[in-house]
Amino acid sequence: MQAFEYANPATLPDALGLLASEWGPTDVLAGGTDLLSLMKEYLHTPKRVVNIKGIKELAGIQKTGAGLRIGALVTMDEIATNAEIRNEYKSLADAAAGIPSPQIRHMGTAGGDLCQRPRCWYYRQGFGLLATKDGQPLVPDGENKYHAIFGGGPAYFVSASSLGPALIALGASVKLVSAKGSRDVPAAKFFVIPKDERTREIALRPNEILTEILVPGAATKSATYEVRQKEALDWPLAVAAVALRMNGATVTSAKVVLGHVAPIPWEAAAAGKLLAGKTITAATAEAAGKAAVEGAQPLSQNAYKTQLAKVAVKRALLDAVKARA
């Protein structure tokens, strides 16, 4: 780990003043569950680390007139156990509770979950976001069983965010603040498929801090289903988050977002469209699963993820309606 300056600001303006205008020289530290490993591997070599854990306004979960505000420093465990979230935004609680490591649940933050870097093993070994060697992509013919089946390249990593799919399905937005002002970005626009090594996989700018997540009022049934190889520390193989607006037993509108299948949480619009006006049954859930994976482009070793994503959609839908049925 390269030596660095450690800044411990008490206020948001102080923290923002410490950021750089380009990626690289400065990193923001919250839970540290990702940043520390990036630094130990010399993938990030910041000259300055800005610890934001002391900034009080970034904490807490509040109900607002518009819905729910989740501070960037709220831990995944708080999200998993918060009664309001469990009752009204089940998909979010599911996603946070699905993180099998108690250490990561208790240290990892909501903001960090959205801003963490990809887990792609080529990226983590220094071959870049697009995973190339001598200009040639390593993933399509390489070891790609955990890689993307959507997005079409040239990035093949999968977004590691646990909350991302659920937030997009719920229509949430994130607040990004810089010294010059703030902007609200829909969660769906926050994640970006990089086309080159210079682009980040999120819309955050280097001089900004993600301060809070805003989730609109519920009136939905939601659930997240993760297909996991194991119960101990691990990443899911495929995820589906669903959010349904209901009129009685009838779906008025639906959003289905897949996780761990693309460089961004992947909205399956066709599945959502298919569900509108229907009731959720084993048959409609199955059909939605099928629609969700239409157009998947599996690589040499990950065709199985198409099946997993399909099943995840079906099970998330059935779980969502069972939850408050």
């Binding site: 390269q2 030596a3 093993w121 390489g142 996991r228 194991k230 520390l233 099946q307």
Partner: protein, 717 residues
């Protein structure tokens, strides 16, 4: 002259400590963190070392420049391990190391070492033998009987392809040591399975006399066969200490380096064909296998496993050289591979002829060594009872309808496990205190506890009366803890040393009890005339009589060739996996895992059960999750971590049911080691259970979602 004392174990009904479920003596130390491992040591002035390996799988080092690294702040020593001109044969192969005031400074220094490589072509994936070309070295074909005719005459022939990958040891404490080289003395605090051998292993490499090397270790965080030698890292650590003017240096590999270079289990792939009768008797075996243990190629698993008297057999095995880290013994070397290939083929044969595999296994146990045939059959019945085989087993793929399918599968094992050469010294002091000195180590298996049980039982004392010293190379020499050889060796040498000391004590106190020494016994903290408690001396009073000599100190030795009935070799073992497979996701969950295991005389059933639990957890992890993933293009191991090198957690292993086969006929055989035996059959049993559940064989372990779904699709296609 009196004849040698009777060392034999007391009869079962007379034992007070041996055979009893006594708590692990160092449990509180370990569970509270008071136990200090070598990697915990922080002596005054400690320097931290970091270890640098090649990023390339195959390359030649053309230039190394350490000048900038040496100038880095906090850096006290830089050492080149493999000089310019060295041909690197795997990623991570050592290049240089640095010691500095902090671990971070040491790692930063390594980044400043400039190394030029001439990159050479590599080969890292052995699963497809066709790609191996000249990298494959076939061992000669081995033929027994007339396999061609036997297959022709067979009423049924089954054939399958199976694979078990390279996995790593994942010791919680990585490989390394703390070393201080001061003047002509070298102090080593290793993480080792062989404390008595540490000095001899290190001496020639650092050119210091064995006599000048002191090695000490209280605890080790896992070895599993990968920590017999001090390792290159201990030697490098010594040189760094010397270069740093004699400061203590801590060199433990980081997880990545540990995964890359500190050992692994060889892979084995094979096509296996069985021919036989419709009554389940196998008459012909044919296997063509390959695998790798690293650059040096691969070993050949002993096939067919256990049932090696099948009258007609032909087999070949090709060792494949890859540019990846070298193998080390992994808890029953070659046996998991052999058990997997044999037991899977046997269940596939049973499926082919539509028979219950339990019946097929029972029949073919006739081919096991004569002395063990009935043991296997007994253990199979016992395991079937515990797993409720008759209730839950169903013909392959013919279970209940529904998405989640349940299945049961079988596996068996064999291991030698005779006691190692071991010397022990038992000393009785005039104040009645007792010291047992033995140059062994406790790998977490309970070695401290069983030695103390044996010494206390022999002397008629409580556990707390024995002071035990282990883990130091100044103590009487004991062997490496490997091959399940420790418990038999150390218990036998301890028994003899304690008994020899006791005989001396009997000689000293006999006159005052008006008896002959051979008429005395030590029980309940007393020396008494046999079965005559009225004629006795309390232990302390008896020991006062040795004032003239000051102490009694006697040696005891286990000689491997003549263990005198105290220990022996040859453990069987039958296991059954009970799994549920989600046929929509391919995820396998373990419901229950039954392990029936003999190991001769069981010194401590709790610790023995704990050994089996540990082995089953480790084995389930390999069956369900673990594999080293190599990248063809870059030559890198892509999962040198504990993130994508997946290990089972406690929620992944299901309910583990252990039955120790402690029948009197096993007890009378003496002690047999238990490290390896229960770790052997698990991949086989799990793979067989999955096949039973879903109706089709998943050829390779670990049985991950992608493999299960591919196998299911293959069937449906």
């Amino acid at each position: 002259m009196a004849s040698a004392p009777d060392y034999s174990w007391p009869p079962m009904e007379k034992r007070k400590l041996i055979g009893k479920p006594i708590k692990r003596l160092d449990g509180p130390q370990k569970s509270t963190g008071r136990a200090k491992y070598a990697s915990d040591l922080k002596p005054q002035g400690l320097l931290f070392a970091a270890y640098m390996g090649s990023p390339h799988a195959h390359a030649r080092i053309t230039k190394i420049d350490t000048s900038e690294a040496e100038k880095m702040p906090g850096v006290k020593a830089v050492h080149i391990i493999n000089p310019e001109g060295t041909e690197i044969q795997w990623q991570g192969m050592e290049v240089a190391a640095a010691a500095a005031a902090t671990e971070e400074a040491a790692n930063d220094a390594l980044r400043k070492i400039k190394v030029d490589y001439e990159v050479l072509p590599h080969f890292v994936q052995e699963a497809d033998l066709k790609q191996a070309g000249a990298r494959g070295k076939a061992a000669g074909e081995r033929v027994t009987g007339d396999p061609d005719k036997a297959f022709q005459d067979a009423e049924a022939v089954s054939e399958g392809q199976y694979g078990i990958p390279v996995i790593t040891h994942c010791c919680l404490e990585t490989h390394g040591s703390v070393v201080q080289w001061q003047g002509d003395q070298v102090h080593v605090f290793p993480s080792t399975q062989y404390i008595s051998g540490t000095a001899a292993g290190l001496a020639p490499n650092i050119k210091v006399p064995i006599a000048n090397i002191q090695a000490h270790m209280d605890y080790i965080g896992g070895g599993f066969g990968s920590k017999f030698s001090p390792g290159k890292w201990a030697e490098v650590c010594a040189f760094l200490s010397q270069k740093a003017g004699g400061a203590p240096v801590r060199l433990f590999l980081d997880r990545k380096m540990d995964q890359l270079i500190a050992g692994n289990r060889p892979s084995a792939f094979a096509t296996v064909k069985l021919g036989g009768k419709k009554d389940g008797t196998v008459t012909a075996w044919e296997s063509n296998g390959w695998g790798t243990g690293g650059f040096a190629g691969g070993g050949s698993p002993p096939l067919p496993y256990v049932i090696d008297r099948i009258p007609n057999a032909r087999q070949t095995f090709t060792g494949v050289s890859v540019n990846a880290g070298p193998n080390q013994a992994w808890r029953a070397p070659n046996n998991q591979q052999a058990a997997f290939l044999t037991c899977c083929a046997l269940e596939d044969f049973a499926a082919k002829i539509g028979m219950d595999p339990a019946a097929v296994f029972d029949k073919n146990f006739a081919y096991a060594p004569d002395a063990r045939v009935e043991t296997y059959r007994y253990q199979l019945r016992k395991a079937a009872d515990l797993a409720e085989w008759s209730k839950h087993w169903h013909p392959r793929g013919k279970g209940a309808s529904g998405v989640v399918k349940r299945g049961l599968g079988l596996g068996f094992s064999a291991w030698a496990g005779a006691g190692q050469a071991s010397q022990c010294r038992a000393t009785i002091h005039v104040d009645g205190s007792v010291v047992v000195d033995i140059g062994t180590q406790d790998l977490g298996t309970g070695t401290r506890t069983v030695i103390t049980q044996v010494a206390a039982e022999t002397l008629g004392l409580p556990m707390g009366a024995i002071k035990l010293n282990i883990g130091d190379n100044s103590l009487p020499v004991s062997g490496a803890s490997g091959g399940s050889s420790t418990v038999g060796g150390v218990c036998s040498s301890t028994r003899k040393a304690a008994m020899n000391a006791l005989v001396k004590l009997f000689e000293t106190v006999a006159p005052s009890l008006g008896a002959q020494p051979e008429d005395l016994e030590a029980v309940n903290g007393k020396i008494q005339v046999k079965d005559t408690p009225a004629k006795s001396l309390a232990w302390a009073a008896a020991c006062k009589k040795i004032a003239a000599a000051g102490q009694i100190s006697e040696m005891g030795e286990n000689v491997q060739r003549s263990p005198g009935g105290l220990n022996t070799q040859g453990a069987a073992g039958v296991q059954i996996a009970d799994v549920s497979v989600d046929t929509e996701t391919g995820i396998v969950r373990v419901n229950r895992y039954v392990a029936v295991q003999d190991c001769g005389l069981v010194v401590n059933p709790w610790l023995a059960q704990s050994q089996v639990h540990g082995a089953v957890i480790m084995g389930l992890s390999t069956a369900l999750l673990e594999e080293r993933i190599m990248d063809a293009r870059t030559g890198r191991m892509l999962n040198p971590d504990m993130e994508f090198y997946k290990l089972a957690g406690i929620n992944d292993v299901g309910d583990i049911v252990v039955h120790l086969d402690i029948r009197p006929e096993n007890d009378k055989r003496g002690i047999i080691g238990l490290g390896e035996p229960p770790a052997i059959a698990i991949c086989a049993a799990v793979s067989n259970a999955v096949a039973n559940a879903i109706g089709v064989r998943v050829p390779n372990v670990p049985v991950t979602a992608d493999r299960v779904l591919a196998a299911l699709e293959g069937r449906n296609a």
